[in-house]
Structures are given as C-alpha cells and as structure tokens.
C-alpha cells in the first residue's frame, strides 16, 4: 500500500486530547449506534478529558461507566458489535487489556474468518500507555506487539492529533473489523500545530520527513522524539533524516519502509515497548526477507530496557531512552562518530508528565 495524500486540511492547533474528544463526539453524533464504554468515561475526569461531557450530551445508555470486568466487558462489546452497535471501549491503562486477551485474540480477531466470513466485529478498543511519575511495572506497558502478532486485528498507534481524527473517523465509518489503538498518555497534553494531511487510507504508515542519511521508523510518541532528533542533527550537523510514522504496527507499509531504507541504507527504529519480538524485530524481518543487502550498517533500535518498569525516577529515566540517547545513537549510526548532544540546541519536547495519573 502506498499513501495517497488527499483532502488537505488546515486546522491550526489541536491537542491530542481534544482530537480524541472531537473524534468521540463526532462518532456519537454521526451514528446513533455508536457507544463508548469504559471505566470512568462518564465521570468528571472523562478519561483524561477525552470523553468529557459526552455522557451528558448523548445519554448514559451510550456513554457509560462499566464494572471492573475486562474480559466480560470486551465480550459484551463483541456481542454488541454482532448486533448492530459500534462499541468504543476504553482502558485507562494498556496493562488492563491483558485481562481481556481471550476475547480479543480468541474471539474478536477470529470472528470473521472462523465462521466463514459471515460476521463482522467492528469495534474500537482504546488502550492508554502510561509513562512517568512512577507508573511502575503494571501501569506502563505498551503491548502492541502482542496484538500485532495476531491475524485479524488492526493495531494502530496514532502519533498526533490529526492521526487520531482521521484514524478514528475511518475506524467508525469504514473499517469493518476490530481496531486496537494505543494512545500514549504523554501525548494527551501536546498541541499539534502543523497542517497534517488526511490520508486516503488512514491506517497506513506515513512518511513525515524526507531525508537521505538514515531512515527512522517510529511509533506513537517516539515519532515526536524522532522529529526532535532529526531537527537537531539537521541544524547541528547538517544530517538529513527520513522519518516514517509507522502508525499501523499490524499492517505496516512495507514498500514505504523498504524504499526508504534502499535510499538511505540505514535504519533506526524507535518504539515504545521492549525490543524483543517488537517493532524493530518485525521491521528487521521485513528487510531480511526482502533484501538484507540494502542495509549499509547495523540497525539501531531503541525502546524500553529489558526489564519491568521500575517505579523510582532514578531508574525510570534510564528505563526509557532519552532524547540524548536518541541523538547520540542516531548520530553515530549516520556518521560513525561519537557526538555529545548540546542540550541548548535540542528543540522543546513535551512537558514533563506530572502525576499521579
């Protein structure tokens, strides 16, 4: 699949949170069969603001809090989808979806195929990745690889507000199967200023920066880090990074990635999870099975360190790759030389997350 850009839009500034809220609101207002179900979707915090006020507007039959029973709730969503409802389910932390794995993997992912194509299970599961402020081992996981391994699931990781807008619109209005979307908690507070363009296939990977020295494939919040790193090495060292926002980790745009790596000869993968059996692994497979000789250097990947997430800030900051790590590894990959990043020249990132949730 190649991205075909179309329908340029010119929204000026939109936060991830507001994009979510707007997407949810659009879905509810456009279709009476859309519901939102999840813990706290109707309370005064409204799923970190992303469902705020919707219960009041669309009624508590359509936007409702649900008991703490992830497997049952997900089965309920599947059953509702089979009878004409489009359920949007939320988990305030990705980690809780492990309790719903059987419904997602054994049922939702297989429903169409297993019964011979006669049934569809259109639904959207929103999973929020926690990070920082001592989320600890059980509130910080980023489990996209688990789902992306399973045929039948569309697994996306929208990296910005516009990606939320187009992906969720597409999920609700066009796509017929289960979509698992990973929303990074840190992204919620970020404003997106650029004019990003809607894509004909909003689930597709997108090239977000042209360059010739290296291909960076990034997911979710790591796209922002990649843009910062690329910005830095451009300004400071005149190096040109090409960046691909992978977006769909289950249905990645293979041609886009291969063409880019063919051009640059170098690959840097920045993902939000552990690397073993993760995004860097799958992209490595893609290249190895196509033509490993397009790689002119060893691949570099960054993600979580291979451990559960420690709570203390002193270890947590080592657990996640910093922008310094990113830049120094990136520079070394491109130039073969060590470079110590100059803090003052790194463009502003996101605000530090201040807890508790």
């Amino acid at each position: 699949m190649v991205s075909i850009y179309s329908k340029p839009v010119t929204i000026k500034s939109l936060s991830y949170r507001n994009a979510l809220l707007q997407s949810m609101s659009n879905a509810l207002s456009q279709h009476s069969h859309v519901i939102i179900m999840g813990q706290g979707v109707d309370d005064h915090k409204g799923t970190f603001g992303s469902t705020l006020g919707l219960a009041e507007k669309y009624g508590k039959m359509r936007v409702f809090d649900i008991p703490l029973s992830e497997e049952g709730n997900t089965g309920m969503a599947v059953g509702a989808a089979l009878n004409g409802v489009y359920p949007i389910q939320t988990h305030i932390r990705t980690d809780f979806s492990l309790l719903a794995m059987s419904q997602i993997v054994n049922m939702a992912a297989k429903y169409k195929y297993m019964y011979g194509g006669h049934f569809n299970v259109p639904m959207l599961i929103r999973l929020i990745i926690g990070r920082s402020w001592g989320q600890g081992a059980q509130h910080s996981q980023s489990l996209q690889s688990l789902f992306a391994h399973i045929p039948g699931l569309q697994v996306i990781m929208p990296s910005n507000a516009y990606s939320i807008m187009s992906s969720y619109d597409y999920a609700v209005n066009h796509y017929k199967g289960p979509v698992i979307s990973f929303e990074h908690r840190i992204l919620y507070d970020i404003e997106f200023n650029e004019n990003v363009v809607y894509d004909a296939d909003p689930f597709n990977s997108k090239k977000v920066r042209e360059g010739s020295d290296v291909t960076i494939v990034a997911t979710s919040i790591m796209v922002i880090e990649a843009l910062r790193a690329a910005d830095y090495v451009q300004k400071t060292l005149n190096l040109n990074c090409e960046i691909i926002d992978l977006h769909s980790v289950s249905h990645m745009d293979k041609k886009l990635i291969l063409d880019s790596v063919k051009k640059t000869g170098k690959l840097f993968v920045a993902d939000t999870s552990w690397q073993a059996y993760g995004v860097a692994a799958e992209i490595s497979r893609l290249i190895c099975e196509e033509d490993p000789s397009i790689l002119k250097a060893a691949v570099v990947s960054i993600g979580m360190q291979p451990a559960p997430c420690p709570t203390t800030q002193s270890l947590e900051k080592l657990f996640y790759p910093s922008i310094y790590d990113f830049i120094s590894k990136l520079t070394f990959l491109i130039t073969g030389k060590t470079h110590i990043p100059d803090e003052n020249k790194i463009s502003e990132g996101y605000k530090k997350f201040k807890g508790p949730f």
């Binding site: 009878n83 019964y115 194509g117």
Partner: protein
C-alpha cells in the same frame, strides 16, 4: 411437516437431532469428519425446548457442543453436515467445523471452543437489542463447567446491572470433560445466579422438551417485555464421551446406574411408537444431507487468506 400436538413436534425435532448425531457417530470412523465432535445425545430436549418459542430474529450463542442448538434454531442440516465434512457449502465454508457452527440468517450467532466465551456475547447482543429497540431476546447457552469461569460472573453482573433482555441457559450435564460438578463447584448454580438479582428457573427434567418449552414461553415473554435477564439451569445427561463418539461408561468417572436412570426417563427411548412414525422420514432427510455434504467441494485454496481483515 404437520404435527398433531406440541408433543409430537418437539418429539420430532428431538428425535431428528438424535438421529443426526447418531449418523455423525456412524460416519466418524471413516475420517470424513476431521474435526472434534461434541455430541448432545441425551441432551437434545434442552436445545429443542429452549428454542421452540424463539423467533427467527431472536439470537442465540452456544459452545462447541452446538449441533443441537444449530438445528433447533432452524439451521440448515445440509449446511451443517457440509461444515462437519469441511466443505465449501458448509455454514462456515468449511473453516468452522463442528465446534463453530453459526448462521446469521437464523440468529445462530456463534459457537465457540473457548469455554464460557460466548456468555458475554449474549449480554452484549442484548445490550444492542435494548439500545436499538429491536424487541429481540438473546439466548446464551453454556455448560455447568462454564460457570466456573470469571467471565460468567462478570456477565451475570453486567446483564443485571444494565437490565438486559438476555436468557442464560446453563445446560448442566454434571460434567466438565471427566470431572464431576461436586468436585468443581462450591455453589449451587441457580442459587448462585439468583444472588445477582436475576430471576432464576431451575428445571431438573432436562429430558422433558414440553416442560422446558412451556417454561421458556413465559420466560421469553417476560424478558422481551420487561427487558431484564433470566437465568435457567436445566439438569441433563450426556450419553456419550465428552468429545468423540464412544459410550465411555466403562470408565469409572461416572456411573452406569445414573445413565440407566436417565435413559428410563428419555422420551426418545420410551416412546417407540413415535420413533417408528418419524424414523424413516428423518432418515431420508439425513441421507440426502450426507450425500450433499459428500458431494460438496472443499473450499478452494484462495479461501485460505480470505476474510482475515
């Protein structure tokens, strides 16, 4: 078919299911059916009684032990047998097999080989029915073993909290594979279910299709009108082994006596007059369906990667 009484009709349907499953058992050793089969022989009256007063637009979910429900809800026998044979004309194009019978057109919405996994589907479909004002009731059926699963608890709570038009049918054959209910349950199923503030009916005569159908008549009406769940536990008995076709009463996990007791109450054994009246007609239908299944082609290779998303 014209029947002279409700009894006759229900008898006919139960007998038909039994004869179909006996035919499956007969064919099984030929390896034409390469799929684990979980027979309902001995339990047919439950499915027949449960489905009798359901409308075509009402929905039902079941487990891997679903031949009887598929047929009782009005599923096409040819499509079912073709499915068991792994053929393209099967209800699931051969991809489903015995454990995953379904047919949307008759409201048979799925049967799953993960124990208890469809209980919550019934709840969700009932939610949709209520939200979209469909006037449908939704039935979800499962075994006694399924009540041990966490999602069973979650589903009962959800159905009751949201007051949904779902009927839970627990088909209690006293066994989960070879394990007796008393080893596994600290609770009595229908009493436990009642603690969720759900109306509950206990039927110990799982062989009596008329009694079950009559009870269901009222239940269905209440659930449809008042949009609230109902829980039904029906005691029954599995004649054959858990999976496969053999009579395994030689194995001491259950008693031959119990078997004899149940057989002594089984109308399909007791009422030989009725059996004689219907047998040959049913046989003809079955033979034609078997022939259909035999002749149906296997799905083409192109189906392998179809319908994945």
């Amino acid at each position: 078919m014209n029947f002279n009484s409700n009894y006759e009709e229900l008898f006919y349907q139960s007998l038909r299911i039994r004869m179909i499953e006996e035919k499956i058992a007969e064919i099984y050793p030929t390896d034409k059916i390469q799929s684990p089969v979980h027979l309902s022989i001995g339990q047919e009256a439950v499915a027949v009684g449960v489905c009798h007063h359901l409308k075509k637009t009402d929905l039902i979910y079941s487990s891997y032990r679903s031949h009887a429900y598929f047929l009782a809800k009005g599923g096409d026998l040819k499509a079912m047998l073709a499915e068991l044979f792994g053929k393209y004309d099967g209800s699931g194009k051969g991809k489903a097999g015995s454990m995953h019978l379904a047919d949307k057109s008759i409201g048979m919405m799925g049967s799953s080989a993960i124990v208890a996994s469809t209980i919550s589907h019934g709840v969700g479909s009932a939610f949709a029915s209520k939200l979209l004002k469909k006037e449908q009731v939704v039935v979800t059926t499962f075994g006694d073993g399924a009540t041990e699963e966490g999602s069973y608890h979650e589903s009962l709570n959800l159905a009751s909290v949201f007051s949904l038009p779902v009927i839970f049918i627990c088909e209690n054959n006293g066994l989960a594979i070879h394990s007796n209910e008393s080893q596994r349950h600290a609770y009595t199923i229908h009493q436990h279910a009642a603690s969720y503030n759900i109306k509950t009916t206990y039927i110990k005569e799982g062989y009596d299709f008329e009694l079950i159908a009559d009870a269901m008549y009222n239940i269905i009406q209440d659930v449809r009108e008042n949009k609230r769940p109902h829980f039904v536990e029906i005691k029954t008995y599995r004649y054959r082994e858990h999976v496969g076709i053999a009579d395994d009463h030689n194995v001491p996990y259950r008693s031959q006596n119990e078997y004899e007791t149940w057989k002594k109450m089984d109308p399909l054994i007791l009422d030989q007059k009725m059996v004689t009246a219907f047998k040959s007609e049913i046989s003809r239908e079955i033979d034609a369906a078997v022939e259909f299944a035999e002749l149906s082609p296997y799905p083409p290779a192109s189906e392998l990667l179809n319908d994945v998303y």
